[in-house]
Symmetry: C2
Subunit: 458 residues, 2 copies
């Protein structure tokens, strides 16, 4: 995959002379993204593209090309690939659609691509792909605008949507590989690459189809010891499977078997793809949890009830706080206030202020040997009521503690987006939009703990 992710010399075959808004010019996008290597545009009808000499055929370039990116009508693709082989190019991305995703003629042509990859020493990514993005060396082959973010997250997908809009799918991504129709390079290759990539700490995978089941599973079982792998598989339903067939020509496969196999391998498998960004940020940033005893600190008794429902749904338990924990908070509360878990500190906030009350409570709960993880519930106020915002207070408390117990924040109020950013600013506390997701996220930390420490007792 090195040729795909970190090429020095790239040939762009079938690149258009048009540039600017609406032209989807891949070369322009590559330059904007900051690629520092050499680009060789190939277009027999253009003398020059974006100020660079255009070659009429890739064979004319006469330099060692690491990667060819082909975007040209499907009828010309095979002969261009042959030219690439003749020019001794070892890696090609076929961007255009119209193969297994289209008609019988397209399927025949894709089969010929597969044969060529097996026979002629060229590896092919695609067809029907935006290719790759590597923010760490400013490289992308996407003709759609993509963001650059040096996050240690490697994404493997089959649809450009994941590279263009990772916010919805995986959160931040640092590197991405869009397999498209996967005529040659598949999930196995991409996972093997990210598995050994030191810049990648977690791997997010959106599958439509999977036909390398057995090898992939044993690879995943090895990689997952080192790096979390999170998988969502779409095309789960009958109609979804038909849609997958027509999108990338994927055979959707047996969902339940795949899910069972991946879970067995220690992979975090998601039924709802919309949960991927939360799974990724949880497993990337929070410490794992050996057991399920959760301490809840809350401004609101109402929220304490909701969180209890979430905990039970996701197999977690309310910790039985030690007497010391209760005593510390009781010292700040009215005598009549029943203190238990969830720990309702609102009366203490009224008497001593939010920062004092929350700081005392969080320290006590983090020190409590009966607690494995913590949920903090607090308001996200507008700036004029910032004395109720404890994001900075809690982050300061966290600095006194090693990263051994995960701490999650759930906020409500008129300023959620801003305050959540503050909670997450030091990557010690993660925030979630619903208590269902907050409690679910904690359950992922137990699952992964068990997957990589199968013999350890909690």
């Amino acid at each position: 995959m090195q040729n795909f992710m970190e090429p020095k010399r790239v040939a762009l075959i079938g690149i258009s002379r048009k540039s600017g808004a609406g032209s989807f010019n891949l070369m322009e996008n590559m330059l904007t993204f900051g690629f520092g290597g050499e680009i060789f545009p190939v277009n027999p009808n253009a003398g020059e593209i974006l100020g660079q000499r255009a070659y009429s055929n890739v064979k004319e370039i006469k330099k060692e090309i690491d990667l060819a990116v082909i975007s040209s009508p499907r009828e010309t693709t095979l002969s261009i690939l042959k030219d690439c082989v003749a020019a001794n190019i070892k890696a090609a991305i076929v961007v255009n659609q119209g193969f297994n995703d289209a008609d019988r003629r397209g399927q025949e042509m894709q089969q010929q691509m597969t044969d060529m990859a097996r026979r002629d020493g060229i590896r092919i990514l695609g067809p029907n792909t935006l290719g790759v993005i590597n923010s760490f060396n400013n490289f992308t082959t996407s003709f759609m605008p993509v963001s650059k973010e040096r996050a240690p997250v490697g994404l493997i997908c089959q649809s450009g949507i994941h590279l263009v809009g990772p916010q919805r799918f995986s959160g931040k991504i640092g590197k991405g590989i869009d397999l498209g129709n996967a005529c040659d390079i598949g999930f196995y290759d991409a996972l093997a690459h990210f598995g050994q990539d030191p810049e990648i700490k977690i791997i997010a995978i959106h599958m439509e189809g999977m036909n390398q089941g057995k090898d992939f599973l044993s690879l995943a079982a090895r990689v997952v010891k080192d790096k979390p792998i999170v998988v969502h598989k779409s095309g789960r339903s009958k109609t979804g499977a038909r849609a997958a067939m027509s999108h990338t020509g994927s055979i959707a496969g047996n969902y339940r078997l795949l899910k069972a196999g991946l879970r067995q391998a220690g992979v975090t498998f998601l039924d709802d793809g919309g949960h991927m960004p939360y799974a990724v940020k949880t497993l990337l940033n929070l410490p794992l949890m050996p057991d399920s005893r959760i301490g809840v600190i809350t401004y609101s008794g109402g929220a304490g009830i909701m969180v209890s429902d979430g905990l039970e749904k996701h197999g977690l338990h309310l910790a039985a706080f030690s007497a010391e924990t209760i005593d510390r908070v009781a010292a700040l509360s009215p005598q009549w206030m029943p203190l238990t878990n969830p720990l309702d500190i609102w009366p203490a906030v009224m008497l001593h202020g939010a920062r004092k009350a929350y700081s005392v409570a969080l320290k006590a709960v983090l020190n409590d040997p009966n607690v494995d993880g913590v949920i903090c519930i607090a308001i996200a106020p507008l700036p004029e009521f910032s004395f109720l915002d404890v994001s900075e207070t809690l982050n300061t408390v966290m600095e006194e503690f090693p990263a051994r117990k995960p701490v999650i924040a759930w906020t409500y109020g008129p300023n959620i987006a801003e305050v959540e950013k503050r909670y997450e600013s030091r990557k010690r506390i993660m925030a979630y939009p619903t208590l269902d997701l907050a409690t679910w996220a904690l359950s992922l930390l137990i699952d992964r703990y068990k997957a990589i420490h199968p013999d350890r007792q909690p």
Copy 2:
């Protein structure tokens, strides 16, 4: 409830002299919120509060008071209520905690409040409540900061969290009633009020406990013919029920029985409280759907697969598009492009631009007699790629059509918050963060159609 929601003269008993940041001064909050009536502060130790003469006892006021708001230590609350009765006050809000939410002594005092309400002709809201908010006449009794928003949404809850942070719980609210421990005024009274309030078009209810089951159900069955009612009940789990007991002293009741009864009555019942904002905006803004045949238009085949999974999960179906619909989009697409539902218009976008392609596709799908509702999937680009943003295009198309088929947008990309606002700006299209929620939202529109037209065939 009129005295609570639209009082002219309000006595604030036990109000503090302190004001400004961190003082939680209810009178200051009430003034900031814009209350135009008369306020009578009562505090025996203060001559003047916020520039107004303070009375030492409510009986001294000698004017007809519509509502008393009591925030004073629990030991004083009953005698203050007696003074209110003596002063011929018919409505009181007890803000403070320490009753059924606390110890045995608190329970005894709450029982005495209930007795007083039944016997002495005073209605009591609370204790343990922020009281009410009525944005339509700039009135609130909340000591916490709350937002003013003249949305036709009436909220009934038992925890101030819902008034302070409606964004997480119900979305925008125009009026709210926090029942707190509900010693007297309960869900029945609040629902009856919003049921006949012409400024309220939809009612959102967050329950912790419910002990007026039968009367409430028959009232709900009547109200729901006119206005959607959405209910979430927390304290579902065993631990949640225990937490509810300690928060408002509620008996959580049998969750499954309540759910079945409410559904039978035509209420939209949510298992996940985090879904409430989406349920409310869906039922408030989108037309109902008699049947489940959904047309999907997408920039991305990958998203088409995901949406198919969501449709199947929520009991919806991919519509079989008419030949005319397919023909109209085929005229813009390459010949090899297989067109079906989901309708992948990306090749048409590449050839004719996003606005042309999406406009043709949406018109065709809205005109298609085989379609009951529509999901539009498109990118949320940064401003420099705004030619890919079709929010304005789709809203313009909607103006040519009567509000008969719901249209939902799902976007991905780097500018989601901004672009979603544009989609929703004319309240004809609603946007959702995940495809699971988008498809679920459509299913609510069928459920409500069936609930209010039990005899009509689709």
